[in-house]
Subunit: 220 residues, 2 copies
């Protein structure tokens, strides 16, 4: 069985919202995430429900079935593997790959992404630090990853992920020298707004709570 690009995007969006909020997904939230109208969502949700990819009851929101979840995770796998390819092999920057991966993730082929995965030597994380599900849907985890906002003064860590893949944010991080793999140390924290001074290899930068809560760190 094969699904339309639209169906796949709905499943992916439902998966994302379900994981984020830990409960069934509302029509409005879905409409908002997919930049469409609630009425359109209702239509599609009925269709996906009939195909048993989601469970849906009027006014109660939706959640993925086992099958729907598998499909969603597979699309996410495709997306992230393509992002690795674009950055590692074609030299794209991490803020340039998302849109293209949004297209590539829908290419229909049993083998393609598995071959690409071999070619890339089975990466576990994408250019934004997000985990890449394996063929069976298992998602790698990081043992002791925390938000930079939780790191105390003097403590050291390595940047392993970003919790926001907005292009401007990624470009900002690039300028601040806060990219994946960078070793950092908390130099100071300002109580009044929880902003921090962060020491990287060659400079110190001040970042807001907003920023530090979107950076994922592995403690040294």
């Amino acid at each position: 069985m094969s699904y339309t690009k639209t169906e796949e995007n709905y499943l992916k969006a439902i998966y994302g919202l379900e994981s984020k909020f830990g409960k069934s997904v509302s029509t409005n939230d879905l409409a908002n995430k997919l930049k469409t109208k609630a009425s359109s969502v209702t239509d599609m949700v009925k269709k996906l429900s009939k195909k048993e990819l989601i469970t849906y009851e009027k006014y109660q929101g939706v959640s993925l079935t086992k099958c729907g979840k598998e499909i969603a995770i597979n699309i996410i796998r495709n997306h992230r593997i393509w992002e690795v390819f674009l950055v590692e092999k074609l030299g794209y920057k991490w803020d340039e790959v998302h849109e293209i991966a949004e297209q590539l993730e829908h290419i229909k082929s049993e083998e393609l992404v598995d071959r690409l995965d071999d070619f890339l030597e089975h990466p576990s994380f994408d250019p934004h630090g997000d985990p890449i599900p394996d063929k069976k849907g298992n998602i790698p985890t990081r043992k002791k990853a925390i938000q930079l906002s939780e790191l105390g003064i003097g403590e050291e860590g390595i940047i392993v992920g970003v919790k926001n893949t907005n292009n401007e944010f990624l470009q900002y991080l690039e300028e601040m020298n806060l990219t994946l793999g960078k070793k950092i140390q908390v130099e100071k924290e300002f109580d009044f707004d929880k902003s921090k001074i962060i020491k990287t290899d060659n400079q110190s930068v001040t970042i807001s709570k907003e920023v530090s809560s979107h950076l994922i760190i592995e403690k040294k």
Copy 2:
């Protein structure tokens, strides 16, 4: 300006038929090539005409405008570069890549295929020996390429292309050891049906006129 997958496929098909027959393309031929109905073709052809990608007069068939031709060639460029990638980097066989490239050719990105082209070190021909247009639309040519059917007894050459990318044909060639780059020599020709005995590096095979006329050779 960006076009739908369908529009792009129509332009590509028109380009192919126009090149092949050297005259304007009929509704029926187009319908046949695109595996759709003549009535659907008439609709789309009106649409492309309004966009000035083709010229169209009722009952007179269509031909590409400069702009339409540029788009068609660009899609072909995409297709062939992706085919090279699939074969060279992901280890696909030449009979496995066409369908996937049919999808990949429509990915919308200014840069993607150019970067891929760099990554592949600017190939001039795809895995089937078809020329890859450059970014400006220039199509590489081979000076002295001829059909194997034109090669005389005793003459030698190298296989540089196939004029039919049907999967079964490609698999047949593989079995006969008649793949791109192979050196061959005409051992014998049978007058009654123009079939030939061909010597390759390690064996002799008999092939029909049908087959030899679809193999492109560069004379030694």
